[in-house]
Symmetry: C2
Subunit: 460 residues, 2 copies
């Protein structure tokens, strides 16, 4: 990396963190309708970052939360990189499990604690600050940069596709860069070449039209909580295999070479289990924990509610019961087809005395990246430089980043998944945090990446 | 009934309703810790009613909510009647299903709508106003009256037993009167001679110590929502029989005579089903709907919650899942023994990867009243007089009134269960109401009852 870029990063490190702190203070919970004004504030914050650098930037309205689009075009010969990230965050509840409030960022033990610290405000911010370092020192960037920072990643990116489809020529680029994954372990930075897909559904079953007295009516009327429990219980067999017909039909087995690579990663199952606080790990019979997380499909209950959930007893037969379910998918499972299979299966399992309502939310297929791409080499070099390591782990992840598949589909490009945080940073949990050193190394790796990519020819 | 008592009831009917309305405005939700000051206000309101009649009255502090005790002693030769009721009410949620707010009593179609309208403020109030009618006209009562009006009926009457045990001599009486049940149907008043017992438990299972990202961790860690669903699903077999070992061991079969009586009650199953809005009724195989509600034990889920319950999706593996369960019991099931049986059964069903926490709440055995008692005749006559009917239905009910068993145990007395409302009055549901005409007939029946009982000698 150029010396003056490197020096700039050192000199402005504290300010970068202070600005991230301001970003984290905005409660951009996209799932919560009450946060709508905060979503606008979040978009404006991002937009301001770009205009401060004199980039072309605009806040694009959508049917949902706005998208911030910015670009800095240097030369038609330089490669064009599309940076994607999101300024929305997961809901912060349960609030009482946070050590400090989720939207009052706090430094402890070299980490910054706040909802969105890693997912994704902290990570996406590195790609803005790296550009700043180039522009404020060299005056230009070695690549053309285009930024798409959306506000609906945590609720299914429902309006992103429309934006991409309506702007295919403006968004033309050579490769995408996304930092919304994790390192393999502390000081073991990684490039993630595989992701699981997802489908999300919600089912509500209804018995009586209103809650009934469980003494007066109990025993003679259908109880939706019990009916729903039986439906959920039917999702997995004793070996924790998913019972939906056809669920595994399109699942490809993992190659011997890949399995070999997985075994070479020093995965400490005991430490992993201890970190989660579970008495034992469990999952689909016949697979290791890493395989279960990276290469096997799942069917998980994310939320469940029926009847009285307050303090003390309440003697009712509830009127309704609701479950939120997501399935993680692997290549080449089809989310649309499996959503319908899940629909039909649950409908069949529903006791005839209950009415059945099924809604499906977002979905996307799994993704596996071409590891022979020259972009991977550039990214690998940049990361080694920033972290001071001699190799980068090639890993898969269990999460879903639907945008990766969308970029392939609509823009025809591959995505470099470069994670700066840890999967133990409590993403989606109370006390989410980001190691400040990882934040700064992320900025440094990003700045180096622009350099390495700039040394390639466009289309390279 | 004496003519001047009857005239007084007519002349003061509107004021009685106005005073009930004031009573209903106080949100005495005993399960909600935030309502503690309102509970005190509720007790003071009741106390004031008695002091207005120059009865000896006091607000008795307990470890929980206060009990109001009042008495009007006329003569050692007259029978002594203990009136029991409760000024606490069920939680009003879900609030959005109320047509008018639960604590803003509203008259519609001859009914007063409010939480507690029938259960039990409206019904217990009849026994205060009936005493008023005697005292303001005749100047004395034909019986000795003792009132115990508690504030914890909806949360298990945890402190009532202590009060009764500490006051056995003060509470000495011949019979108890409780109006916390229902008529058999509109204009078909009834004496309830059987009640089901109850046991109440709560189970929480825990997997990871906090909510986890369902992509990063899903498939490899125990999901407590799924585990709990399997536990709940194991509670009933395909014939809706409860699977807890020994659950039916002590259940007595109902006599042929009683079954015959049940069939003679004109129970309209189609109308019953339509009123509840269910597509079909269901319950333990081999029994009618009335039998399922009155004579068979149940195991119902009253509440269920795990993970994310807000709007939109949230991709987590929840940390915990909780279920609230109550079982209704019939003679001669033992709530203590069955609570332990349920505990052991659920513990055994709990997946080994989840930690298991079991808490039990209140419980009481079922109750069947001696229908040959002369008190029943007095009550029957009083009711026929107030309702203008020629006979009173003898029924059982599926609900539990633990105090009935407690009175038998501690004070050695039987209880007349005289219900003035309907079981369709939305007890424990939104839009609880009480037919104003039933309220007034209840006062009249109560006033007549004091007369009929007064014609008996003490000791029956």
């Amino acid at each position: 990396m150029l010396a003056n870029v490197s020096t700039y990063l050192d000199q402005h490190a504290d300010r970068f963190l202070a600005e991230l702190t301001d970003f984290l203070r905005i409660p951009t919970v996209s799932a919560d309708p009450a946060c709508k004004p905060e979503m606008q504030r979040g978009a404006e914050f991002v937009h301001q970052q770009f205009t401060n650098l004199k980039m072309t930037s605009e806040i694009v309205s959508t049917a949902g939360h706005p998208i911030v689009y910015a670009e800095s075009l240097q030369s038609p010969d330089a490669p064009t990189v599309l940076v994607y990230g999101h300024y929305d965050v997961q809901p912060p509840d349960p609030l009482d499990l946070w050590t400090t409030p989720p939207f009052e960022p706090t430094l402890r033990n070299g980490r910054i604690y706040a909802r969105g610290a890693t997912d994704d405000k902290g990570q996406v911010f590195t790609h803005i600050k790296s550009a700043e370092a180039w522009l404020r020192t060299v005056g230009t960037l070695p690549v053309n940069l285009k930024y798409v920072i959306e506000g609906e990643e945590e609720v299914g990116s429902n309006n992103l596709k429309t934006f991409l489809k309506e702007n295919t020529s403006r968004l033309r680029c050579d490769v995408a860069v996304v930092s919304d994954t994790s390192q393999y372990a502390p000081n073991q930075p990684a490039i993630t070449y595989g992701l699981r897909g997802i489908l999300a559904v919600e089912v509500t079953v209804t018995g009586p039209t209103k809650d009934l007295h469980s003494g007066v009516f109990g025993g003679a009327v259908p109880n939706p909580a019990i009916g729903l429990a039986k439906m959920i219980a039917s999702l997995h067999d004793h070996d924790w295999r998913v019972c939906i017909p056809g669920f595994y039909d399109d699942v490809r087995s993992v190659s011997d070479a890949e399995q070999h690579d997985f075994r070479n990663l020093d995965f400490d199952e005991t430490a992993f289990q201890a970190g989660l606080g579970v008495t034992e790990l469990c999952g689909e019979k016949g697979f290791t924990t890493l395989e279960r997380r990276w290469t096997r499909p799942t069917c998980e209950v994310n939320g469940l509610f029926s009847g009285y959930t307050g303090a003390g007893p309440k003697t009712i037969v509830p009127s309704t019961a609701t479950v939120k379910i997501t399935c993680r998918l692997v290549p080449a499972q089809d989310p649309v087809q499996l959503t319908e299979a899940l629909h039909q299966y649950l409908k069949k399992q529903c006791p005839p005395s209950l009415s059945f309502k099924f809604t499906s939310d977002h979905g996307c297929p799994a993704f596996v990246f071409d590891t022979t791409s020259p972009y991977v080499e550039a990214a690998s070099n940049a990361i080694c430089e920033a972290w001071g390591v001699d190799h980068v782990r090639m890993i898969r992840e269990g999460g879903s980043i639907p945008v990766v598949q969308t970029f392939k589909e609509i823009l025809g490009i591959d995505t470099l998944l470069l994670g700066w945080g840890q999967n133990t940073d409590n993403l989606h949990s109370p006390d989410e945090h980001f190691l400040v050193a990882d934040f700064h190394r992320g900025i440094r790796a990003s700045a180096a990446l622009w350099g390495h990519l700039g040394a390639m020819r466009s289309g390279g």
